[in-house]
């Protein structure tokens, strides 16, 4: 076999197929990270001593393990120990989601702590319960404060999907590698992949800034969000 050239429409199709996997994987992972990270942030801010400690240990342990190692543990080690494991795609979502949850909890903790304490006192004095205060006073503001940093985290998750190749996930970068391997032309195809990543990131940044403006409150940090 001689190195061949690939017609551009075939190459684009392969890259877009990879981009689809990249998008699906990154969106599911960031949502899983949100679902774990936000409660962890609340635990760390408002929990009792034990809950705070648990949240702190969770954050530090997860942030201390490289993503590749998390993948190896979830996909290769756990099945060896317990005899049952997740299929590659869900292992990739869980690994990336757990890793992101530790960073997202930091982001939300910052957002929660940025809510003025006087407002909490005022809310309590109106007779609101803890959960009501969190739901109606803290979160609406904290989430707005957190949006730019959260968008940043999404971009990191998006780019880190390529590490899932370690457990057999074929996404955008891998499709580019296929093309490079059969054509021997690295610049062309890695550049094309880079452009696709950029388009995804830019469109989502635009979306985030739109959401920030639409739901922003005048005079509150989230009103002029730029992500």
């Amino acid at each position: 076999m001689i190195l061949t050239s690939v017609p551009w429409h075939v190459a684009i199709k392969m890259l877009l197929e990879g981009a689809k996997m990249t998008m699906i994987l990154s969106v599911l992972s960031i949502l899983l990270g949100l679902a774990i990270g936000l409660p962890v942030a609340l635990m760390e801010t408002y929990g009792n001593k034990a809950l705070r400690y648990v949240a702190m240990v969770y954050e530090n342990v997860i942030r201390g393990i490289p993503l590749l190692a998390i993948y190896f543990i979830i996909f290769f080690s756990i099945p060896l120990l317990v005899g049952i494991g997740l299929p590659a795609f869900w292992a990739a979502v869980v690994g990336l989601g757990i890793r992101s949850s530790a960073y997202q909890s930091q982001i939300f903790r910052g957002g929660i702590q940025a809510v003025d304490e006087g407002q909490l006192e005022a809310a309590f004095s109106l007779g609101m319960s803890n959960l009501q205060v969190i739901r109606h006073v803290v979160l609406p503001q904290a989430l707005r404060f957190s949006l730019p940093a959260w968008m940043n985290e999404y971009i990191i998750v998006l780019k880190d999907t390529s590490i899932a190749l370690a457990i057999g996930i074929v996404e955008l970068t891998r499709q580019a590698t296929y093309l490079v391997s059969i054509t021997g032309e690295p610049f062309k195809y890695y550049a094309a992949a880079a452009v696709i990543y950029l388009v995804i990131v830019l469109s989502l940044s635009y979306l985030a800034s739109y959401v920030g403006k639409k739901y922003g409150i005048r005079g509150v940090g989230g009103a002029n969000v730029r992500a």
Partner: protein, 255 residues
């Protein structure tokens, strides 16, 4: 409301993953499917055919022939990074690895290898206009040598040329070839068939010397999976002694 939605999404993910994992683990052992691990960025041994979208190559055709001979109805190819292949074998994610993998003492400690099916000779590739002549390993002394990290070529050059030359390592052989074309290195040492492929793609490059490394590719199975290993070995022997072998070589290497 939005809050409840995200909890719902999480619950969905968890339930779906438990169901999905149950299905997959339940079915793999009962049907006759051979699950093969490879790393499809090593044309012509394993690569993705852009026309069909399938992973193909010399190794893939070979393992399909073997699987058929030993009674597997289907072959499932799983592509992953080269470094993950041995962990995947050990954890039972794949039954066989065929990926242009050189049989080394270190790897033999953790997996079992079939009889060798390919000799991993290394070619020295140069720019035609550089007038570099290589007649023995010693002629590489003083040169800037490009290799791909972790490959037989890299290990061989480090061992036999070592400090007598500047060795530049690249993460892929494609990057090493680019460095050669740009003049960042004088020569590139890489697997014979792959080097010849690049020499025919780029008229400015040529193969000037072949190093006989005496190293071989093997098919890997889990340590202690003797039954499968014996089946693979006898199938491999009969294929290598039949015209099928020459057809395979012809199809992927054109000689």
């Amino acid at each position: 409301m939005r809050w409840k939605l995200s909890v719902g999404v999480l619950a969905f993910i968890l339930v779906a993953s438990v169901i999905a994992s149950g299905c997959i683990t339940g079915s793999s052992s009962s049907t006759k499917v051979l699950v093969v691990g490879t790393s499809a960025d090593f044309a012509p041994f394993e690569y993705k055919n852009p026309k069909t979208g399938n992973i193909t190559g010399f190794d893939i055709s070979l393992i399909k022939l073997i699987a058929k001979k030993i009674g597997y109805k289907k072959v499932k190819i799983v592509d992953m990074s080269f470094d993950s292949l041995i962990p995947a074998l050990q954890s039972g994610k794949v039954q066989v690895v065929i990926a242009g993998m050189t049989i080394t003492a270190k790897r033999e400690k953790v997996v079992d290898f079939s009889i060798p099916y390919w000799t991993a000779d290394q070619d020295v590739l140069v720019r035609k206009n550089s007038n570099i002549k290589i007649n023995s390993i010693k002629d590489l002394y003083g040169k800037k040598i490009g290799v791909e990290t972790g490959t037989t070529g890299a290990i061989y050059v480090k061992k036999h040329v070592g400090k007598n030359a500047t060795i530049k390592e690249y993460s892929t052989y494609v990057a090493a070839i680019e460095a050669l074309k740009n003049g960042q290195v004088d020569v590139v040492v890489l697997d014979s068939p792959v080097a010849k492929m690049f020499a025919s793609k780029y008229p400015s490059l040529e193969v000037v010397y072949t190093i006989h490394t005496n190293e071989h590719y093997g098919i890997a199975v889990r340590k202690g999976d003797t039954k499968l290993l014996n089946q693979i070995n006898s199938a491999l022997k009969s294929i290598m002694n039949s015209p099928e072998w020459n057809n395979l070589v012809k199809e992927y290497f054109g000689s």
